[in-house]
């Protein structure tokens, strides 16, 4: 997984909970990388889970909730760092429709070794259904990012319903519905 996810997580933790908490969770997680993350590097995705597990203990919020919050935070950072991905989108649905064939395609051009989930996308007038496929099984994290998109385009009326399509968590259905 690209370093940016790790560096942003730690910066979020530092900003919200302080340097020492950040340091503590890194220490406790016993990471192969020793937590020396640079955004341009690449690290084992399992370390995210290790860090979030330690964070759970420290702040008393479950992993799912942490991922939801972190997803939203990270999405904001993405917007700041890569504004050109947002040029032609005017709303949540039109942005999400282009994840597979535009955004992720461009990301892979820049970062050949990025590990990204695959989405099957089905659009109806007021519904968007996204089927998430990923070996890394980061459904909650994905959910968080989706919340980030909704926030960014300021469409709080859109609801997300998450459904597991497999026991292992490597296939998940996200149904987004616009309410009037």
């Amino acid at each position: 997984m690209k370093g940016i996810v790790f560096t942003e997580l730690l910066e979020m933790v530092e900003a919200k909970f302080g340097l020492e908490v950040a340091d503590a969770i890194v220490q406790a997680a016993q990471l192969e990388s020793e937590g020396a993350y640079t955004s341009v590097g690449t690290y084992n995705h399992k370390e995210i889970f290790a860090l979030v597990a330690q964070l759970e203990k420290h702040i008393g919020l479950n992993a799912k909730a942490i991922f939801h919050v972190f997803g939203q935070y990270l999405f904001q950072q993405f917007y700041k760092g890569y504004p050109y991905f947002f040029e032609h989108s005017t709303d949540t649905f039109s942005f999400l429709e282009r994840i597979e064939d535009y955004i992720h395609v461009e990301v892979l051009k820049l970062y050949k070794d990025a590990e990204l989930p695959r989405f099957d996308i089905f659009r109806e007038e007021n519904t968007l259904r996204m089927i998430y496929h990923s070996e890394r099984r980061m459904g909650d994290f994905a959910h968080g990012l989706l919340l980030g998109v909704i926030n960014h385009f300021n469409e709080p009326s859109i609801q997300i319903v998450q459904e597991s399509l497999s026991d292992s968590g490597d296939r998940i259905s996200f149904t987004l519905t616009k309410n009037a």
């Binding site: 950040a22 890194v26 020793e34 020396a36 590097g41």
Partner: protein, 465 residues
């Protein structure tokens, strides 16, 4: 590590660890940057090399194309040169061949008409026949070469299509009769009296088709048909011609290439039936020039029908001159009533041939060998008509004509001048007209045409009685 007070150690340890991690992360980032820089450098190098290669390829390609273009330009120049040489060759050959041919035809004709001995008649007839065949052959070859070189342009004269067919049929009747074949003509009523077109070539096409039919038919006969559709403007019409026979016919396969030359079938046919095989190709070419297409429908063993249609303008008011010229057609009754004719001709054989005809037709003849002598002669003599050869030493026919046309004596400056040309190419005819000559006759000349032209230009004098 130096001793740190216990209260601060936890925070300091934290900070130190954070610092350590930051340093490690920075170094990692730096390594990544170095690596990316190297990659970039190598990719750039590769790109530059490819670019250089591409530019070289473009240069090579451009130079090859330029070379090719130069070669093409050269080829074009050579082709133009070859075309011009061919054209010049045709003109020269035309002249060189026709001059002696003129003598052969002229004299054999003359001898035949001057009471030959009994035992001389057959050899003379054969001579006449062979010389005419030779002329046809030479004309065919020259025509075909001209067509190939794209140098044929149609002439335009006023003529009667029904009279053309009538004369044609009359001239071929003897041949048909010899083979016991019928030769009929069907001209529909609505055909116009006079049209404007290339009489000679239309005649040539039809004669060719009819003689082919006669050649390949042993029983039955030939029908020459002409019908017509008037254009709504009444100013032109579509003439449909067909020559149908009950001969040996042409198989479907052969129909594909009878109009072509140099085919195997042609050589076999030529051996069996004679002929150069150029005839149909020339006919097709002429008909195409006239705007039509020569087609054939035929069933092997039953007969053939060659047909084509051409579009010609109609002349509604007929001039009396045309009628009169046609009326005075029979060559035996020609009487030029001692009209004074000056013959300007350098070649002694041509002089003799022309003189023979002119004296037979009761003209008063004077002969000079070139243009300068002609002018000198005209200073002290009057004349009714001048026959002007073109190619002569010292002064040629064009220059002489130009000089005559600016003489102060009006009777002399307006005298009718007929050019005697070796070829009837458009360049020649154009120069003939421009130099001030009234008409032309091409060598070897057809005595009938010659007589007709003389009479038409001497009309004023001949009618004074």
């Amino acid at each position: 590590m130096p001793e740190i007070p216990a209260e601060n150690s936890s925070r300091e340890s934290s900070l130190l660890r954070i610092l350590d991690r930051e340093r490690k992360a920075r170094k990692m980032a730096e390594r990544i940057i170095e690596q990316r820089s190297l990659e970039l450098y190598l990719k750039n190098k590769e790109l530059n090399e490819l670019n250089a290669l591409l530019e070289q390829k473009v240069r090579d390609r451009t130079s090859a194309l330029n070379k090719q273009q130069d070669e093409l330009k050269l080829a074009l120049i050579n082709a133009e040169q070859a075309k011009k040489e061919k054209s010049d060759f045709l003109s020269i050959m035309s002249h060189e061949i026709r001059t002696p041919l003129n003598a052969i035809i002229g004299f054999s004709h003359v001898l035949l008409n001057e009471n030959p001995r009994e035992d001389q008649i057959q050899p003379l007839e054969l001579l006449d026949y062979s010389s005419k065949n030779l002329m046809n052959l030479v004309n065919d070859i020259l025509d075909f070469s001209k067509m190939e070189a794209g140098k044929v342009e149609l002439n335009e004269i006023l003529f009667s299509p029904s009279k053309l067919i009538g004369r044609l049929a009359a001239s071929m009747q003897p041949t048909a009769a010899e083979k016991d074949l019928k030769l009929d003509v069907e001209v529909s009523d609505e055909c116009p009296d006079l049209v404007r077109g290339d009489y000679a070539r239309l005649n040539q096409v039809l004669i060719n088709l009819v003689s082919n039919s006669l050649k390949f038919t042993s029983t039955g006969g030939i029908i020459i048909k002409m019908s017509c559709e008037w254009h709504t403007s009444f100013e032109s019409c579509q003439l449909h011609f067909s020559v149908a026979d009950t001969g040996i016919g042409i198989s479907k396969e052969r129909q594909e290439y009878i109009f072509d030359i140099f085919s195997q079938e042609h050589s076999d046919t030529s051996l069996k039936y004679g002929g150069t095989g150029l005839g149909l190709a020339i006919c097709r070419g002429f008909v195409r020039l006239m705007g039509g297409e020569l087609l054939v429908s035929s069933i092997k063993g039953e007969g053939s029908n060659f047909y084509f249609s051409i579009h010609l303008p109609i002349q509604n008011n007929s001039s009396s001159k045309t009628h009169k010229a046609e009326a005075m057609f029979s060559i035996d009754t020609i009487n030029l009533k001692q009209a004074r004719i000056l013959l300007v001709e350098d070649n002694p054989i041509n002089q003799k041939v022309t003189e023979r005809f002119l004296s037979k037709w009761n003209a008063k003849i004077a002969i000079v060998p070139n243009g300068l002598e002609a002018l000198k002669w005209l200073e002290v003599n009057s004349i009714d008509l001048i026959l002007m050869d073109i190619q002569m030493p010292i002064m040629d026919g064009y220059e002489c004509t130009r000089q005559i046309r600016i003489l102060s004596d009006e009777q002399k400056s307006t005298v009718p001048i007929i050019a005697m040309t070796a070829d009837n190419s458009d360049e020649t005819l154009s120069e003939v007209k421009q130099s001030g000559m009234n008409d032309f006759i091409s060598k070897p000349f057809n005595p009938n045409d010659f007589a007709e032209k003389l009479m038409s230009h001497l009309e004023g004098i001949l009618n004074e009685d």
